[in-house]
């Protein structure tokens, strides 16, 4: 009886533990990849903005590539979580026709943006908005806001607020034409809770 009780208690504890674990699931797991059907994709508005080196970056320069277009700001905490992911994606997939473009909404422009991108070692092209660009993309008022654009320059998915690293990765890989369940590399440089985002995958 005592043995049965212990086994039963362990089962209950295990169930309670799993329940608590699932209850602790953060927003990181709340969203799964949602690439639109090709017929539902709309053309991403064209823009031309100066990058940190003073060169003009146009979205049309990236036709043929998958682009992750991220609206962000230095004062945006959730954006700061995503930026290291985008650095990793840029490093990992740049040779597979992929590029990250960051558009900052900082009102004081490069004054805040330049030291920030230097500190974070951002390896992708960063621009500062001219206000028209964020208006063209639906009047970006909440950050981060991210659009994933297909090779034909159409918006394949969009995310307002912090999405999961795994969601972005799966969407990028889907558009790059790779297997959906490519294993991500092991990384310890991530916020607590995000590890689960890579452990749990959509089963479709």
């Amino acid at each position: 009886m005592k043995r049965f009780f212990n086994k039963r208690a362990l089962q209950i504890l295990a169930i309670a533990g799993i329940a608590a674990y699932l209850a602790s699931c953060s927003f990181y797991e709340a969203e799964w990849p949602a690439v639109k059907e090709e017929k539902d994709r709309k053309k991403a508005p064209e823009f031309a903005l100066k990058d940190a080196s003073g060169e003009t970056a146009k979205l049309s320069d990236y036709r043929g590539k998958v682009v992750l277009l991220n609206f962000w700001a230095t004062w945006c905490g959730p954006c700061e979580i995503e930026i290291p992911w985008f650095i990793e994606f840029q490093r990992q997939y740049k040779d597979r026709d992929f590029a990250v473009l960051g558009v900052s909404l900082d009102e004081d422009g490069w004054k805040s943006v330049l030291p920030f991108v230097a500190r974070e070692k951002v390896n992708y092209r960063v621009m500062v908005t001219n206000e028209q660009v964020d208006q063209m993309y639906g009047g970006v008022d909440s950050l981060p806001t991210t659009f994933i654009i297909d090779r034909e320059g159409r918006v394949a998915s969009s995310h307002v607020g912090l999405a999961s690293k795994n969601t972005y990765r799966q969407e990028i890989l889907t558009l790059l034409g790779s297997p959906k369940h490519e294993s991500p590399p092991i990384s310890f440089n991530r916020p607590p809770g995000d590890l689960r985002a890579d452990l749990f995958r959509p089963s479709r």
Binding site: W75, C79, S112, L143
Partner: protein, 117 residues
């Protein structure tokens, strides 16, 4: 010296940075006054809360949330004429919830008063 209370209330789930944020990049809550009949003599902000968020799990942020009050202090110059008067100000803030931040906003603040001699 006169004081005016400015009551504020935030939508549940949102916070604004305090007047002294915990990171140089964060935008502080700031109440400023345009030139008027009274002389601004400082703003008393409430004690901020130090809160951790999912996007800042290790570093607590200095924030205000829920309902709180700012106290604006003014000097009344001896030359101020008796009668109704108004002071206009701007409240600058930047709000976030657990997963996103809203762009900085500036709200108009107005105080109506009667100067009695």
């Amino acid at each position: 010296m006169v004081e005016a209370k400015v009551p504020l209330s935030l939508t549940e789930g949102y916070h604004v940075n305090s007047n002294k944020p915990s990171d140089e990049y964060l935008i502080p809550l700031q109440l400023t006054w345009s030139k008027g009949i009274l002389e601004p003599a400082g703003v008393v902000y409430p004690k901020p809360r130090l809160e951790k968020y999912q996007f800042s799990p290790d570093k607590p942020l200095s924030v205000f949330s829920g309902s709180f009050e700012l106290i604006a202090k003014f000097m009344v110059p001896a030359t101020a004429p008796a009668g109704p008067a108004a002071m206009a100000g701007k409240l600058r803030y930047q709000a976030c919830n657990n997963t996103m931040c809203l762009t900085p906003k500036t709200m108009d603040v107005a105080i109506q008063l009667d100067i009695v001699k």
